[in-house]
């Protein structure tokens, strides 16, 4: 039985007391695992992270981190976790000073800190920027500094809230590899992203969040088997459409939004001719039609509907 580093149990969170932006979320993460939280803007990923990192009090449910309840052991938990926030955060100083001060805040021994600063400057390609002031860095460079900083101190669990936003593809890959390397050495990672391939590459297990709920969860191969090689038919029509009969005719997931029909399926080639015949028989005009690779968005729509 693997040690559970994160246990979230029927968590519900609200900012205004009425809308639950995290709504009955349960999951666990085992030691050494990289767990991905995927979801669109506003899905509730950051709110979930804020709860796990002790910033937000738990409204309903239970959250245990490293075996401790977040409501009771916030300080003890914070000493053992690292957090890369989604929002920009840095000190008003040079890259090097940012790293030194951050290591000092974590009470990293001087010699260890020195070596680690050199390591992260190298890994995150910041060596040539060490004297540059943080607010003069580009967006991606700031993000790199923010992620690099978190690897200066020891920790058992690392939260990364969309850490690769703004990174170029080469840097993105090397950051992902670095994280994976740390996980192999026993670090547990909770990772959020909106990019499916990234989660696929990095994460042992993935949860897809939508509107505050986890709508799908599994290893990346589980999810791939379920949602892989999906395609989406988009049709723009004019004319009255009987949604229910369409639904009966095409039991695959059909979403109708005003005059737009979306069908997400693995075998669009079979469905497409039938759909055209079906629409033609009812005197509905097709204004536009297209078949596309499913985006993350389509997977969501499929999972939600």
């Amino acid at each position: 039985m693997l040690e559970k580093v994160i246990e979230v149990d029927h968590l519900r969170q609200t900012y205004d007391g009425r809308n639950f932006v995290v709504d009955d979320v349960s999951f666990y993460v085992s030691k050494g695992e990289i767990y991905g939280l995927l979801g669109k803007n506003g899905a509730g990923k950051t709110t979930t992270i804020r709860t796990m990192t002790t910033i937000l009090p738990v409204h309903y449910g239970k959250v245990r981190i490293l075996g401790m309840d977040v409501s009771e052991n916030a300080e003890r938990i914070r000493k053992r976790i690292g957090v890369v926030l989604q929002n920009e955060s840095f000190d008003f100083a040079s890259v090097e000073r940012n790293l030194k001060v951050y290591g000092m805040l974590w009470d990293v021994p001087r010699e260890v800190l020195k070596a680690r600063i050199e390591e992260v400057l190298e890994v995150f390609d910041l060596s040539s920027l060490r004297k540059v002031r943080a607010m003069e860095l580009s967006g991606g460079q700031k993000k790199r500094l923010q992620v690099a900083r978190e690897f200066l101190h020891d920790m058992d669990l690392l939260f990364l809230d969309e850490p690769t936003v703004g990174l170029d593809p080469i840097m993105r890959r090397s950051v992902l590899n670095y994280i994976r390397d740390k996980a192999r050495k026993g670090l547990t990672v909770l990772y959020t992203t909106q990019i499916m391939e990234e989660a696929d590459y990095l994460c042992d297990r993935i949860a897809i969040m939508n509107k505050g709920k986890i709508v799908a969860e599994g290893t990346s191969s589980d999810l791939k088997a379920k949602y892989g090689d999906l395609k989406t038919i988009h049709v723009i029509i004019s004319g009255e459409l009987d949604y229910n009969s369409l639904k009966v005719k095409f039991p695959e997931d059909v979403i109708v939004d005003n005059d737009e029909i979306r069908i997400v399926s693995k075998n669009v080639e079979d469905i497409l001719p039938d759909l055209i015949i079906y629409l033609k028989a009812r005197g509905i005009r097709i204004e536009r039609i297209s078949v596309e690779e499913s985006s993350l968005d389509d997977v969501f729509l499929k999972v939600v509907s």
Binding site: I55, L85, F92, L105
Partner: protein, 254 residues
């Protein structure tokens, strides 16, 4: 192992302190001392104070010493602003600290600034009037009063930074409070029966009055029972403000 609050203090000194601005702000009251002190000294005969006859500039010097905790407090409050501005507030809240450590980190820095500023004021006052203090041991008492007052004013400004939405408003409110506290106090003139009743009430509702009065007694006279009461008032107010700051900062928007 260095306690977390001291690590945060060190960070605030390294990151959130701009030496030029700092020197300007804590040096500002020395202009009162030089300009007002010298100007009014020509108009006002010596002030009789607790059996001593002192010049107006001497009378004013405890006032400018006692302004230091206020100035240091406002600098402390603005540190919360810059931490929020650069996103470090939230980052520090998930850091390896107790929540109160963040407040202490700012209060300690204010204490350092306020004692440092007071020393600067003593220096200016000495150069101007040739007088520092009657009883050297009282220096320790003055430092204690300054430290406690730093808690009071830093807490006040931390509360303001939590509730005020924009930095412009924060600065305006700071200026406003600065004027009210400075001029409706015993810093510039003695509060006595000749003082208009309205001003007298405001002055005695003003913590700066008690700080100035106790510092003045510690500089020029021997201590008496009223000083003990003044110091008690300052201690109680500081404790209340600190609790208020600790509670309101839990609500701080990130």
């Amino acid at each position: 192992m260095i306690p977390p609050s001291l690590r945060l203090t060190a960070r605030n000194l390294i990151i959130n302190t701009d030496p030029g601005t700092l020197l300007f702000l804590i040096g500002l009251p020395s202009f009162y001392l030089i300009v007002l002190g010298l100007m009014f000294q020509a108009l006002i005969p010596n002030v009789f104070f607790e059996g001593h006859s002192i010049s107006y500039a001497q009378f004013l010097s405890p006032g400018v010493v006692a302004m230091q905790p206020f100035i240091a407090g406002s600098i402390g409050g603005s540190m919360l602003w810059s931490d929020r501005r650069w996103g470090m507030f939230e980052q520090l809240l998930v850091g390896p600290f107790h929540r109160i450590d963040y407040l202490l980190g700012i209060i300690y820095v204010s204490m350092i600034f306020s004692v440092g500023g007071a020393m600067l004021m003593f220096l200016v006052s000495y150069l101007l009037t040739g007088f520092v203090i009657h009883y050297v041991v009282n220096i320790i008492l003055i430092i204690l009063v300054l430290l406690v007052s730093s808690i009071l004013f830093t807490s006040l400004f931390l509360v303001l930074s939590v509730f005020i939405r924009t930095i412009q408003t924060y600065n305006t409110v700071t200026m406003f409070i600065f004027f009210i506290l400075d001029f409706a106090s015993s810093a510039f003139y003695p509060i006595n029966t000749r003082t208009p009743i309205g001003l007298r009430i405001i002055s005695y509702a003003n913590p700066l009055t008690y700080i100035v009065d106790s510092v003045r007694d510690m500089m020029f006279a021997s201590l008496n029972r009223s000083d003990l009461i003044y110091v008690m008032i300052v201690v109680v107010l500081s404790a209340l403000f600190f609790i208020f700051a600790a509670l309101s900062y839990r609500k701080a928007k990130i």
